[in-house]
């Protein structure tokens, strides 16, 4: 493990659009940036066997997830010439239509920001110990599985 300070990525509840706006406007003083790429995951109101998903309840093995995220962060900064990288993932109950994942990368030219953002999302889904429990409208549930 590196000596760098481990950044927290977890937020309780959904990620608000206003939080995203604040995060964007924080970058206006970084005048070497030419392109920003953002990915947001939103909870879908899926229908499964006739039942409707009303929310996803997220839990995580937080310490392990933050260690893994730090590894991803370092690998991504080594691979792409990024100015900035920000990741936020929700814990707790996130209702359909709300945002549960926010990945934000910035670079001088557009390509590294776009490619890094894409790769971070893939790695988050495959490597971070986070679990989503789909809550149906009738209060039953099903554990989500990423494809």
């Amino acid at each position: 493990m590196s000596d760098k300070k481990i950044k927290n990525i977890f937020v309780n509840g959904p990620i608000a659009p206003e939080f995203i706006a604040k995060s964007i406007s924080n970058h206006s003083s970084k005048t070497g940036i030419g392109g920003h790429s953002i990915f947001m995951g939103q909870v879908r109101k899926d229908e499964i066997d006739g039942k409707t998903v009303s929310a996803i309840d997220y839990t995580a093995f937080e310490e392990l997830a933050l260690d893994k995220m730090q590894d991803i962060r370092e690998a991504i900064f080594n691979k792409y010439p990024l100015s900035c990288m920000h990741v936020h993932h929700s814990l707790g109950t996130i209702y359909a239509g709300e945002i549960c994942l926010f990945v934000f990368t910035s670079s001088k030219h557009r390509k590294p920001a776009i490619d890094a953002c894409d790769e971070i999302v893939e790695r988050i889904k495959s490597a971070l110990p986070i679990w989503g429990k789909e809550i149906f409208a009738d209060d039953t549930h099903r554990w989500k599985e990423n494809q």
Partner: protein, 76 residues
Amino acid sequence: MEIELVTFGKISELIPNQKIEVEASNTDELQTNLEQLFPNLASMKYKLALNKDIVQSTQELRNNDIIAIMPPFSGG
């Protein structure tokens, strides 16, 4: 020796967090023990973590180690 079990996701509904006595010197032996103790586990996909490191190949166990049992991840 005693180890502490921590479970997540779907597996947390079958196996609550608990301390257990095991006869196992490494994580491979522990896995066999766990699947005997909790027969449901044998048919599930899961990974173990030892003291917050994911177990890739077998690791030696010490008294009071913490073992996490993790079903497939579904974040994002």
